[in-house]
Amino acid sequence: MADVVMLDSGGSNLASVQFAFERLGVAAALSRDPERIRRASHVVLPGVGAAGPGMARLRAAGLDRLIPTLTQPVLGVCLGMQLLFQSSAEGDTACLGILAGRLERFDTARCGRVPHMGWNRIDGVRDSPLLAGLGADAFAYFVHSYAAPVTAATVATCDYGGAFAAVVSERNFHGAQFHPERSALVGARLLANFLELE
């Protein structure tokens, strides 16, 4: 049985993500205690809002130094995924630096409306256990104004005036730019796949 700990980094989607694990029969505990976090089988970094305040909350709790040292599977959700990268153009924020690359704002000239809000298709670009069972026509719910570049860590992309990283995976660090807790069966499957990782 997975022992999931969600990093209590503030932000308002904590309850939603917790409920999504609950629907999979897993009680996800909230914690900012390094000992408790290290003991977890799986760690989730949720978060919505802006990169600067998000990093500030992690730093205030000392989690910015802890997260890169974790060895169990870690999943960043939405802003949580963005914070895994080196930096974000949002407020020119230095992030955790676990994944290479910088988040850039969607270009309204190419994309039209920003934020990118709604259901969009995710396309797998390489095999990953995170994508198991998702099929070719998997739609997920996105809400964001900044996007991660497609790099070697990208396992699925999404198209909004150009491709960006929708799902990432490198060593034990994983992330979803969309909201799995609000992406119906596709989201539930991704979370279940994450819980299968060891």
Binding site: S16, V48, L185
Partner: protein
């Protein structure tokens, strides 16, 4: 390709979903979670819950049912009704809602939009606008939940939409009052005018009666989503049928 959203709107009163003509003759349709999950199963892309008694009773929507919905529902949902402060919004968002929608309180005090965006990010902040053409000008209306209190405010609609976005609205829901409830189609002219002024997602509301109306509003007004209530609640237009019709028309729709 980003898909166009189909959004049923549910009116909530005393913890139950009701339907009726504004404040009169409400009929209970069922429990909130039960109906939310039914629409989810039918393929709704998002839900809006409007607590119709919150504002008249001088309170914001009840966080207890918001939490119950968040626990069971796995598609995004927005809550509207009586949200007048960051503290009100925080209760609803922390209970698990994805977005909150403000309307009359934002007209009373536009600074509310700035405060909500600063506290939670623009992606959580929806501004609802009730509007119709008066003497050749699109005009914003306030307190439309109560026919006795409804009044015209001295604001032109596209100017208010621009201001709301500049203050931090991440999405606009435009309720076209003259078509609302008539089921004769969305107010395409008004939606086109607001679309031109709206750089964030725009949701059309008011007038849906047939699947063709949805196709028209997506094509002619390029809206990101279409909201409707009675046409779904009455069962005259099942969502699976609507979505398959729209796909047949070449409109991008989530399967």
């Amino acid at each position: 390709m980003l898909t166009r959203r189909i959004i049923p709107c549910l009116d909530v009163r005393d913890g139950q979903v009701v339907k009726g003509v504004r404040f009169r003759d409400h009929v209970v349709m069922g429990g909130i979670e039960e109906l939310a999950l039914r629409y989810r199963d039918e393929g709704a892309d998002e839900l809006v819950f409007y607590d119709i008694t919150a504002s008249p009773q001088g309170r914001s929507a009840d966080a207890a049912w918001v939490r119950r919905v968040a626990r069971h529902l796995d598609i995004p949902f927005c809550v509207a009704g009586g949200i007048r402060s960051v503290a009100d919004a925080e209760r609803i968002l922390h209970a698990g809602a994805d977005k909150i929608s403000v309307n009359s309180p934002a007209l009373e005090r536009p600074q509310l939009i700035d405060e909500l965006a600063a506290a939670f990010g623009v992606q959580c902040v929806v501004v609802g606008v009730d509007s119709q053409l008066l003497d050749g000008e699109l005009r914003v209306h306030q307190y439309t939940g109560d026919p006795d209190k409804t009044r015209v405010v001295p604001r032109e609609t596209t100017a208010w939409v621009r201001e709301a976005i500049a203050r931090g609205a991440g999405e606009i829901v435009l309720n076209c009052m003259s078509s609302d409830g008539a089921r004769n189609g969305y107010d395409l002219a008004q939606l086109q005018a607001v679309r031109a002024a709206c750089a964030v997602p725009l949701i059309a509301s008011g007038g849906a009666g047939t699947a063709q109306h949805f196709a028209e509003v997506f094509r002619a007004a390029d809206v990101d989503g279409a909201l409707a209530a009675s046409v779904f609640h009455s069962g005259t237009l099942p969502i699976p049928e609507l979505k398959s019709f729209l796909r047949g028309q070449g409109i991008e729709i989530r399967p």
